[in-house]
Amino acid sequence: MIENILKTLNEHNINLTTGVPDGWVVPLIKALSEDKRFDYIPAAREEECFGIAAGGAMSGRRALVLMQNSGFLNSIGAFTTLCQKYQTPFVCLIANRGGINDSNSYDPNKYKSFEATTKALNLFAHPSSWEDLPANLPKAIARAEGAGEPAFITLSEGLKT
């Protein structure tokens, strides 16, 4: 699974990656960090990730961002005034905590706020399974570049290893 995802990313020149860890995406972050085909920049805060990816996009490089839904909520100002205003295409993989597969008591508000906010901002956010990621990532970067805006892919559970 992870190997397929990395192969897809590399084949589509999505080699600049950054994120703030969520437990659901940790196996992917570890794999990106250990693979020399990729630059993975661990960011201290999620809005930095949007800056890093926007810097990549505005200098002609494809980028992938990984974060929890609450990280997006931390970063709405930077996202709207940078990524939307400057029309920077990249893919953002969101661990969409607090949905049907998540029984943690501390996550539902993240889910509700993320769903409400992405709808209110009219953002493109496509739910995906892990199995479908290798097929969806190329479509997402193509969609991002065609639309001139980031494309979000949301995951409703962690990777089962």
């Binding site: 920049i41 205003k85 400057y86």
Partner: protein, 179 residues
């Protein structure tokens, strides 16, 4: 030193090294453009404090090119965590310059909460920075052996003229350098 003079020095250094400059909102983007408008300048006119992070993305994407982030002290204070991220990632081709006038120049010059920060000792807390110097010392610096942290002490002053260029045009003019 006036901020206009600081940017004249910075542009001269950038031209010597064929360096890219990413400038924060606040007065930095405007003073940079006033000093010299170059396609290598990326003016950020919306997201306060993001210049350091955008510059990190550019520097990581183009490791053969010197990249300078020109940040206001108020702006960098809004994204202070980026210094830890940059220190950890330690891109050799990135220099962070803080233009420190200790006020929010665009906000009626209210004092910034960063005025107590010891900008000359950032590398003590963030050891990934290979040097921590004053702007005048940057002239002799190898911009490809960083990351560097540069402190420019500037005076508060009059606001510069507006940029006269929109965000999407800035993006595509900059991106065209890499085709």
């Amino acid at each position: 030193m006036k901020q206009s003079a600081a940017f004249e020095i910075l542009v001269e250094i950038a031209e010597t090294h064929n360096a890219l400059i990413i400038a924060d909102i606040g007065s930095q983007s405007l003073w940079l453009k006033a000093a010299k408008d170059r396609p290598e300048n990326l003016y950020l006119s919306g997201p306060m404090g993001m210049a350091s992070s955008v510059a990190l993305g550019v520097a990581t994407a183009h490791k053969d090119r010197a990249v300078i982030a020109a940040c206001g002290d108020g702006a960098l204070g809004m994204n202070f965590s980026s210094l830890t991220t940059i220190s950890n990632a330690a891109p050799a081709n990135l220099s962070i310059v803080v233009m420190n006038n200790s006020v929010y120049e665009f906000t009626k010059s209210l004092p910034t909460p960063t005025r107590g920060v010891d900008w000359d000792n950032i590398s003590s807390a963030c050891p990934g920075f290979k040097s921590n110097i004053k702007l005048v010392e940057m002239k002799n610096l190898d911009l490809m052996s960083g990351p560097h942290f540069v402190h420019a002490e500037i005076e508060p002053g009059a606001l510069p003229p507006g940029p006269g260029i929109n965000a999407i045009d800035i993006h595509h003019r900059f991106k065209a350098l890499f085709k």
